[in-house]
Amino acid sequence: MFDLSVAEWTALKLSLRIAVVATAWALPFAVTTGWLLARKSFWGKTMLDGLVHLPLVLPPVVTGYLLLIWFGRRGPIGVFLHDYLGIVFAFRWTGAALAAAVMGFPLMVRPIRLALETIDRRLEDAAATLGANSVLVFLTVTLPLALPGIIAGVLLCFARALGEFGATITFVSNIPGETQTISAAIYTFLQIPDGDAPAARMVVIAIVLALVALVGAEWLSRRATTRFHGE
């Protein structure tokens, strides 16, 4: 029953690849944004907060359509990236990764921001008085203390990226081997008369992957808490 066909294996590998790349690319942006929102006051802060959470509340197809407008072949950012960096999103797995990253971004920012807000500032101050400059403080004190939140954010974003469908299929359509992730494969199988069995297999795999990611997040998070917060 768990003999996966080529199409199913391809979808699984593609999903994992897209989710890993999406999460990796979103991480630095999420840490920066989380830090800005947690520590700084500036004009437009509420707007930034709102923008960050937009993919969370907008219908995914709308997000996909907006990605098409901005990052597509004729979109302003898409044209710039293509001309100067040679990056193309149309109908490629890079587009699927972008869609997944955008959809998972708010889920990564929230725990990171929360973790940064609840760190004991006095530890940072102590490091500073002992002579560390702000970069060193950030890298050796702030980040490790925020690690449980960062891990939680990373794994939530990963799980979300694995399951991303609406924005992806609107932005880069459904191409086996390129943009057909597990969700898109299930969607296709459900439309074919005898596709219910492969669809069911993919559904079970998707559930298992999601559970592994979430349980892993919980375990890693708790280990980091014990290690850095000493309980």
């Binding site: 098409l68 407008i69 597509g72 072949r73 004729r74 149309a90 109908f91 299929i169 609107t170 359509s173 459904n174 191409i175 969607y187 296709t188 459900l190 439309q191 074919i192 008369p193």
Partner: protein
């Protein structure tokens, strides 16, 4: 009353009013007919529904998507009263699974398959025949259509390309959108240099132009059957009768559909 309990009372009141309003709306929905129609029917059928509402007050709620998706939803118990498919295969599937009322089934409309490009594309019109180098025409871009394994337009497209001997070269250049209108959007936005959609879709989208029409004999005749579902409301019969009327005929034909039966009235 203290502040907290008056706030609670206010919230409760809002909640009850909201649910009463929503349930009233749900009841109104129950009096209307639910139609599941192929995505390519969108503009034409919206106009037909409006004409029907003006003429007889029957309210119609229509869900547009790929015929494959819709029939699978009906199979799972979705409360559709009428099903309009873009090919015979999905209506036959419904018939086989005893989901539709055979007596109400009518092959209503016909359509043509066309090759499109963005309005400002530099590609010139072509004759679609064996030997046409579509791969070269597409360049390094993709040809987008509905999923060739399930969505009617994709199935017609693959059959046509196979008949013309072009499929082998193109298989790796295809991109599959969720339904024909999604494919149309991708071509209109210039994401894909070429697309295969229905002639009626090309007609309603100003952002695309037709480069060529697939010969009728390269694919199964494109026929749109309509039928009431087994669980249809009584008004569904009036809806189907209206679809067969001269008024509906003129609307469908204005969008480019071929009307395959003799219109009543």
């Amino acid at each position: 009353m203290s502040n907290k309990s008056s706030l609670f009372a206010a919230l409760a009141a809002v909640f009850f009013v909201a649910s009463w309003l929503l349930s009233a709306q749900a009841q109104a929905q129950e009096k209307s007919i639910t139609v599941f129609a192929a995505a390519s029917m969108k503009n034409a059928l919206d106009d037909v529904d409006e004409a029907l509402a003006k003429q007889s007050g029957i309210k119609v709620v229509t869900s547009y998507d790929a015929s494959s998706v819709l029939m699978k939803q009906i199979e799972q118990g979705a409360p559709a009263d009428v099903f309009v498919s873009a090919d015979l295969k999905w209506m036959d599937y419904g018939s086989q699974k005893k989901l539709i009322d055979e007596d109400t089934r009518v092959n209503l409309l016909g359509n043509k398959l066309v090759l499109i490009a963005a309005k400002d594309s530099k590609l010139a019109p072509v004759t679609i025949a064996p030997g046409l180098d579509l791969a070269k025409l597409a360049g390094d871009g993709r040809i987008v259509t509905g999923d060739v394994r399930a969505v009617p337009v994709g199935i017609y497209a693959k059959a046509a390309l196979e008949k013309l001997g072009l499929w082998a070269a193109l298989e790796s250049k295809m991109a599959m959108a969720a339904n024909v209108r999604a494919a149309l959007l991708l071509v209109a936005r210039g994401e894909a240099p070429l697309g295969i959609v229905y002639a009626t879709d090309a007609k309603v989208e100003p952002g695309v132009k037709i480069l060529g029409t697939f010969p009728d004999d390269s694919h199964e005749p494109i026929i749109y059957p309509v039928a009431a579902t087994k669980s249809a409301k009584p008004d569904a019969a009036r809806y189907l009768a209206f679809l067969r009327s001269a008024a509906a005929k003129s609307i469908f034909e204005s969008y480019g559909f071929a009307f395959l039966i003799k219109p009543t009235s």
